[in-house]
Amino acid sequence: MFDTLTDRLSGTLRGLRGRGRMRPADVDEALAEIRLALLEADVNVGVVRRFVDRVRERSIGGEVTASLTPGQQVTKIVNDELVEILGGSPLDFQFAPRPPTVVMLAGLQGSGKTTAAAKLAQWCKSQGRNPLLVGADLQRPAAVEQLRTLARGIDVEVWSEPGDPVACAAGGLAHARQTGRDVLIVDTAGRLAIDVELMGEVARISDAVEPHYTLLIVDSMVGQDAVATAEAFHATLEVDGIILTKLDGDARGGAALSVAEVVGRPVAFASVGEKVDDFEQFHPDRMASRILGMGDVMTLIEKAEAVYEQEEAEAAAQRLAEGTFTLDDFVDQLRQLRKMGNLQSIVQMMPGISDQVRNADIDDDRITTAEAIVLSMTPAERVSPEIIDASRRARIAAGSGTSSAQVGNLLKQFTQMRKMMGGMMGLGSKRRPASRKAGRKRGKGPTRPAGSSRTGGGRTSSKGGPSSGKLGTKPDGGGIDWEALDLKLPGR
């Protein structure tokens, strides 16, 4: 279902691209698809309505940017809106000047409060703090025991006393002061937002410990009801931020958007696995793309742009166009690629990548290997690889700790690549002023050698193999198989 959705959405937006200006009908067509995408991602129906209205207003109302096509513009507006809601004003988690910093967790049953409490404690420890956990969930059988077991694993003390959760929490605060703990994390019982009695109780707990931060725990699998729940908790407790749990599942997590929108507070942390360390500060941009089912294209592009210095790119593009692209340039590109971050995380950001690939074990070693091979060459060899004969190859293999076959393989790929790119750049220069080449290069250069042909089409592109990417469309001589190139990301 998700793939189809991705197709549909990017198809619509692709249709929009290439037109001079935005017409209301175009925008509406794209927004109809975006509405469905959001609904399928479990964003609340009312939130979707308001969201779409806002985007329509901004899209049709103007904000015409010279450098973007209409499709890109709608996507950008949608993306900006999503990021704005999800984390526009990120929670600046500050430890209180007068400890302990009190954090209270609240939410529905089964949303993952107890686990999140332990994970947050571990996170605080990693920040050099000395937290105390309070088990104030006296309702669910064995909840405190669960907390104790988790806490033992991370060497954090748990305070709890039977009877009244309010007294228990207050006791925990006193204990934290006595023992010099600088963070107090209060786990509370799960409760339904409509349960008047229990909502009153959680309000009293809050009054007793006066938390610096009240965090609402939201299960990323939750549907439409997220809004009702969030509103009720916010009305009772004044929520400061959200912890999104079970994000390692395959739910699209539209609830995050619903909750952030109605509460007006950002998602602060995300729980991304069963281990205590699987807990991180939240990335609104990644979530925006996940909700839309687009992959994290925007981040990918921005990362690429930021990392790949313009001058380098222009110079490389120039050499490409002249057919004098050297192995030095090649290695340079690989390094740029690596600067963008862990390859696995890059692949995760790409749209339209199947789960199989997404979950494949990708290591950065192959880039290192290629780098080692090139660095074992003489400057002359790097500029003119055709001079490399069998004996040079053996020397390079020995120097780089590889085999002659691997060296030969790399050279073959490089030659093909240079031929292809030279041809393409030549083609491009007929249509475009020279200055544009650098621009194209900048956006795509770093990602291309990584076999990221799937991102080739630009910001909104997704899915589709090489055919969707301009660079891959009609390679000179045709038929270079990016997938087969050994230098492509392993795991493809």
Partner: protein, 345 residues
């Protein structure tokens, strides 16, 4: 440092003092859903008694989407309704809502009986296996099912097959103590298959009527964990046991991911039915329409609270009525819940 006492407050608060009646009347079911129906009824109220127009259809669509019925199912449902409305020339919005309720009820018309014995495997000890993602209420459901079967006079053995989550066994122990069932458990981190197998063997030796096997919650995209679960089921189905029900527990607050859950768990464990939990909140659990239609999995039980008695048979009529508020006065006591904030705006 103090330790915890078994929390009895929950049962008293939610279910009243325990007379362990196996089944509660449909009125209770409806009242549990009362909080759900309010918002939907409010929404539908605006279209009643008027000629259906574009806004009518929009309200219906938002009502269904807002109940987590999902885009595809909502579109298909309304498409069908639209053609009926054309054929029968329905010109009144009230009538339209009634027709919608009828069609939704018809979609849920199916056999929902629970099996307590294995007819083709005489003498085998029947096993009910409970599966689902994390936090949906598997352990609590087992506690409630145990209370119900015990009250019917069955000898129940519980298997603490969740060896992963901290203190899951203690939680189940509390429930076992409440209803007088025996609990068989292994050590933390033990192989869940062997724990379940031990429980089945022990139950067979004691001549117990049924084994209720808990499993650790797992996200359905974790292949190795799903394989592990498939193994638990295979082992439980081995002599002297026979798996007669594999019940997928789904949280009513779950959105569209519920379908993905149902699909994956059905594939791994041959699910025989669904338990829809936490329906006493404001969530409506509309994803079950898609689960029923696409996968043929039937909702058999419904969880309506944390008390031992808060588990009832799924009743499609009450469910649809409550969901749509189609018959607002049908035996529903006035809700004591506060006015729910309306989803949306």
């Amino acid at each position: 440092m103090a330790t915890q006492t078994p929390p009895d407050g929950a049962a008293e608060r939610a279910g009243g003092p325990a007379e362990t009646g196996p089944l509660r009347p449909a009125a209770t079911f409806a009242s549990g859903l009362a909080s759900s129906r309010r918002t939907l009824r409010d929404r539908l109220a605006s279209i009643r008694g008027r000629r259906p127009d574009g806004a009518t259809w929009e309200s219906l669509e938002e009502a269904l989407l807002g109940a987590d019925v999902g885009v595809a199912t909502t579109m298909a449902t309304l498409e069908r309704l639209r053609s009926t409305a054309d054929d029968q020339d329905i010109v009144d919005a009230d009538e339209l809502v009634h027709e919608l309720a009828d069609q939704m009820r018809a979609a849920l018309d199916a056999d929902r009986s629970l099996h307590v014995s294995a007819p083709d495997r005489k003498g085998a000890t029947p096993v009910w296996l409970f599966v689902g993602v994390n936090g949906v209420g598997k352990t609590t459901t087992i506690g409630k099912v145990g209370a119900r079967l015990s009250a019917e006079g069955q000898v129940v053995v519980m298997a603490a097959g969740d060896t992963f989550r901290a203190a899951a066994t203690s939680q189940l122990q509390t429930w076992a103590d409440r209803c007088g069932a025996d609990l068989i458990s292994g050590s933390a981190g033990a192989d869940p298959s062997s724990v379940v197998h031990d429980a089945v063997s022990a139950a067979a030796a004691r001549g117990a009527d049924v084994v209720l096997a808990d499993t650790a919650g797992r996200l359905q995209n974790r292949k190795n964990l799903m394989d592990e679960l498939a193994k638990v089921r295979r082992v439980a189905d081995r002599e002297p046991g026979a798996v007669v029900e594999t019940l997928l527990v789904i949280d009513a607050t779950t959105g569209q991911n519920g379908l993905s859950q149902a699909r994956a768990f059905a594939e791994a464990t041959d699910v025989t039915g669904v338990v829809l939990t936490k329906l006493d909140g404001s969530a409506k659990g509309g994803i079950v329409f898609a689960i029923e239609a696409e996968l043929g999995l039937r909702v058999k039980l419904v969880g309506l609270g944390e008390g031992a008695n808060d588990l009832v048979d799924f009743d499609p009529d009450s469910y649809v009525d409550a969901l749509l508020g189609a018959d607002p006065d049908a035996g529903v006591p006035a809700s004591h819940s506060p006015e729910q904030a309306r989803p949306g705006d």
